[in-house]
């Protein structure tokens, strides 16, 4: 293996040493050990460089150079929050810390609250789905997390729609926060979780490093839509780890429109027969933005299905990355796997790198992937122009149609509408800019 070179890991390790006495759960031996192990793993791996195959297209050097400090929350209760997508149930985190005063979680048929407040009872749950040593960003989070959303939907309960709002307040100095979200749907339960990540409002540099540990039990359905619209000086380093049991469905949509540098990893394991995963996403990039979506789908049981559609639109000098691996284990006969990733280059200075990947050890399977990179189709543009649609509008129409395909894959109507609005809003802003 290529030797891992260390870059900028030292700053994070120092912060851990300085903070550890004040981190939540410091008196819990198991958590102490978990953080210690994470620090060891992070020290060993460092922040990966581009010499590491999985990081070939994303350079974390600017992250190492930023010198982050602990976030000081400066948002008070008086501030107006964006409207919720669902029926009003809402969990709010500011700088990675759960804010009961801003959240609206009363009268829900399931338990939702703060990870920090429940820490003594979370032994064996933190790190169960996302082991710290697996990925550098998970290790970083395990070392430094303070809080997150803790959510358990009991068996058979339809949870409806929950909004999760993640705000960054931002300060004069670069600030980092590392929320850990634990989401569990028991057998037959369902939930639609719509997450919006925003802020800071001024040009502050932030690092948002959320890790999701998701368990979908037999026959349960979780729709998880993430809208990342953070400030253009932000760094976003996230990993979703989900485990789906027999007959369960996990539907993930990730919209990336914000941040200067984004890396989203989505790791889904289909562990029981008949489980299914939908993974869709859109990366809307402009200026000097860099966004990387890396998916890893593990077909570990027979008769599972997965569908992936990822779209990237690139303007300005932006760079997009898609890496998607489908692993079909020997036991996973009758697997049906499909993956499509497409990119539209709107500018001569934009760059797209994509690496779809199939690794298949079972023979009775149907697996395919496709990838395209190109500009707006001149024929389609001509068709619209010849019918009197002005060029700017025609382009806008074609871009939206291109993105629509990914949005349409989302199974929940509310989530789909929220994503549709976010997608069209982005292009209107970019076209005017």
């Amino acid at each position: 293996m290529t030797a891992v070179r260390h870059t900028g890991a030292e700053g994070f390790l120092q912060r851990f040493e300085g903070l550890r006495a004040r981190l939540p759960g410091r008196r819990l031996p198991w958590l102490e050990a978990l953080r210690e192990d994470a620090a060891r793993a992070f020290r060993a791996q460092g922040l990966p460089t581009r010499r590491v195959e999985a990081w070939k297209y994303t350079d974390l050097r600017p992250l190492g150079e930023a010198g982050f400090e602990e976030a000081l929350s400066s948002i008070d209760g008086g501030q107006a929050l964006p409207a919720a997508h669902g029926g009003g149930a809402r969990a709010v985190l500011v700088d990675g810390r759960f804010r009961a005063d801003l959240s609206a979680l009363d009268g829900l048929p399931y338990a939702a609250g703060s990870v920090a407040a429940a820490l003594p009872g979370l032994e064996g749950r933190i790190g169960a789905v996302a082991p710290a040593a697996a990925l550098p960003m998970v290790a970083l989070n395990a070392m430094l997390f303070e809080d997150g959303l803790l959510l358990t939907v009991p068996a058979g309960v339809p949870g409806g729609v929950l909004d999760l709002l993640s705000l960054a307040s931002g300060g004069a100095r670069p600030e980092a926060f590392h929320p850990r979200h634990l989401i569990r749907l028991e057998a037959g339960a369902s939930l639609t979780l719509i997450e919006t990540a925003m802020g800071p409002e001024h040009d502050g540099t932030t690092l948002h490093n959320p890790i999701y540990e998701i368990e979908v039990a037999e026959g349960a359905t979780l729709v998880h839509a993430r809208l990342q619209q953070e400030g253009r000086q932000g760094f976003h380093l996230s990993a979703v780890h989900a485990r789906v049991a027999a007959g369960g469905t996990y539907d993930n949509f990730t919209l990336v429109a914000g941040a200067r540098l984004t890396r989203n990893e989505i790791h889904i394991a289909l562990t029981g027969p008949g489980a299914s995963a939908h993974m869709n996403g859109a990366q809307l990039l402009a200026g000097g933005q860099h966004a990387d979506t890396t998916t890893y789908l593990d077909h570990a049981a027979p008769g599972c299905a997965s569908r992936q559609t990822y779209k990237t639109v690139l303007a300005g000098r932006s760079r997009g990355v898609f890496q998607g691996k489908i692993l079909v284990r020997q036991a996973a006969q009758k697997t049906d796997g499909y993956q499509m990733n497409q990119a539209l280059l709107l500018s001569p200075d934009a760059e797209m790198n994509s690496k779809p990947q199939l690794e298949i050890y079972a023979d009775d399977v149907k697996c395919s992937h496709g990838a395209t990179v190109g500009e707006i189709d001149h024929g389609q543009l001509f068709y619209l122009r010849s019918r009197g649609v002005p060029e700017a509008q025609a382009r806008s129409l074609l871009i939206q149609a291109f993105l629509q395909e990914a949005v349409e894959g989302v199974t929940d109507e509310t989530a789909r509408a929220a994503l549709g609005a976010a997608v069209s809003g982005w292009w209107e802003r970019e076209a005017l800019a």
Binding site: E53, E351, N353, Y361, C367, S368
Partner: protein, 499 residues
């Protein structure tokens, strides 16, 4: 599912009886001392009576190689190779360079006759009634053959006929003597000495291979072909091929290879460099049939090869076609660097892994010139415990406006203990370029098998038919004689795995 059961049963009863090229030739050989060091490099250079610049060139490569690490990124597994435990030079003992086939050791001639390689120039061109030529040969276009036996070229046919057109077709060691300026001008310009670990090794110790030069405006009147044979024990074969197609020229080149059946693994690390200038076309076809090892995965050739073409001229075209049925391990990525505007690169590949074979193969298409286009069609077939990986790169530079790529990778799995993997890299930095990739993985459909069986085909013939259909897009790119051979090979390679 009787078909599946039958298939699985026969996978277990696989034997290597299908490899009919596995015999050894008993012939007096001359070896360099075992191992690799500067002295060996000097020894090879002296054996070949090389000019000083080439020795320097080799020594530089050797120095680079010593500092390099063996690549580990490919999806292949094998025990560490002891580079000191092999012979880097092995040649049949010859008193003097044979002037005609009559002077070539009859044992060697018998070897090639057994392999079915026509070293004898066919009567049709010589104007003489050739004894022993089968009637079917007489009406066909002849093929010029360069036969490489371990480290040396033993014979090249039709040289005079080709020379009339100004075409040079000879062993590269001969070209170093006869056309040193041409060799010096082009050697290492497509694959530099330090390109990768195996290319560096090859640059240091390469022994023979073919040299082809097609002058301006000439369309080569016959297929050129090199037949590589590894015979000696514990030797590596390191051939180097260089093909230069001048402005407006056209050449079709074929390559075949076999080796004896042995329990030890042998290394074959070749370098092939192609240069196509304005409006030139090079078609390069390979039927790779090195010994694949036995049913338990013992023995077989490690085929670690660097092949690259530069389309330097405008509207130049290079087309790679490969049928990879042999070798224990294949590590091979024939590539095209599309420099000239409107140049074209093509890659058509069939790779079969049966028993314990592993293949990590694909291509690189580097688009630099405007409106360059490339097509990649890859068909991977895995059976037994075989592991088959397509690994490819399509890179479009900002300068390659209007560039176009289409890639199709299909994998077929036969049995539940094999693997099929697809690892394409797509890097596009040009807005007006269009890159498309698609890949599928499936197995032979029960209904297709049933359809064939119902019409009286045996299980084996049915699978052969379906596999040939699966590979058709690639096989049709091969020159006719090769296509027939390749089809037979596909069937033999899958023998035992498909009932």
């Amino acid at each position: 599912m009787p078909a599946v059961t039958e298939t699985l049963e026969t996978v277990q009863s696989v034997t290597d009886s299908g490899y009919k090229w596995g015999f050894e030739t008993d012939i007096e050989m001359e070896f360099a001392p075992k191992g690799l060091n500067e002295d060996i490099v000097r020894f090879i250079s002296a054996k070949k009576n090389e000019p000083a610049w080439l020795l320097e060139w080799r020594l530089k490569a050797y120095a680079l190689w010593q500092k390099m690490e063996e690549p580990t990124w490919a999806a292949v597994k094998y025990p560490p190779i002891d580079y000191q435990d092999a012979y880097y030079y092995a040649a049949p003992v010859q008193k003097a360079k044979p002037k005609s086939l009559d002077e070539v050791d009859p044992e060697l001639l018998r070897t090639y006759a057994k392999l079915g390689i026509p070293l004898k120039e066919q009567a049709i061109l010589a104007g003489v009634e050739g004894a022993g030529d089968s009637p079917s040969d007489s009406g066909r276009m002849p093929i010029a053959v360069d036969a490489v036996f371990d480290s040396v070229s033993v014979a090249t046919s039709y040289k005079e006929r080709l020379a009339k057109e100004g075409i040079i077709f000879c062993a590269i060691s001969e070209a170093v003597q006869e056309y040193p300026d041409l060799v010096r001008q082009y050697l290492g310009t497509v694959v530099p000495q330090g390109d990768n670990f195996y290319a560096a090794l090859n640059s240091a110790v390469f022994t023979d291979g073919s040299f082809v030069y097609i002058p301006k405006g000439v369309r080569c009147p016959m297929e050129l072909s090199t037949y590589f044979r590894i015979n000696a024990k514990s030797t590596g074969q390191f051939e180097r091929t260089l093909i230069i197609a001048e402005e407006g020229s056209h050449v079709s080149y074929l390559e075949g290879c076999t080796a004896p059946m042995r329990d030890e693994n042998q290394l074959h690390a070749a370098v092939v460099e192609l240069v196509a200038l304005d409006d030139a076309t090079i078609k390069y076809s390979t039927v790779q049939n090195w010994y694949p090892g036995d049913a338990e995965g013992r023995g077989g050739i490690y085929n670690f090869v660097t092949k690259r073409a530069q389309c330097r001229g405008r509207r130049s075209k290079v087309s790679w076609t490969q049928v990879e049925t042999g070798s224990a391990i294949t590590w091979k990525y024939p590539s095209c660097v599309l420099l000239g505007d409107d140049s074209v690169g093509e890659f058509y590949s069939v790779a079969i892994t049966n028993n314990w074979q592993q293949a990590d193969t694909g291509t690189k298409m580097i688009h630099v010139g405007k409106r360059t286009s490339s097509t990649i069609v890859s068909k991977g077939i895995s059976a037994g415990q075989g592991q088959n990986t397509y690994r490819g790169l399509v890179r479009v530079a900002p300068t390659a406006s209007g560039a176009r790529n289409f890639t199709q990778c299909d994998s077929l799995l036969i049995g539940d203990r094999c693997g099929a993997h697809t690892v394409p890299y797509i890097e596009n930095r040009c807005m007006t370029a269009k890159v498309e990739h698609e890949a599928t993985t499936s197995r032979i459909a029960e209904d297709q098998l049933f359809y064939c069986r119902q019409r009286g085909l045996t299980q084996e013939d049915a699978v052969g038919l379906i596999v040939n259909g699966f590979c058709r897009e690639v096989l049709k790119e091969l020159p006719m004689e090769f296509a027939v051979e390749a089809q037979k090979l596909l069937q033999i390679s899958l023998e035992g795995s498909v009932g």
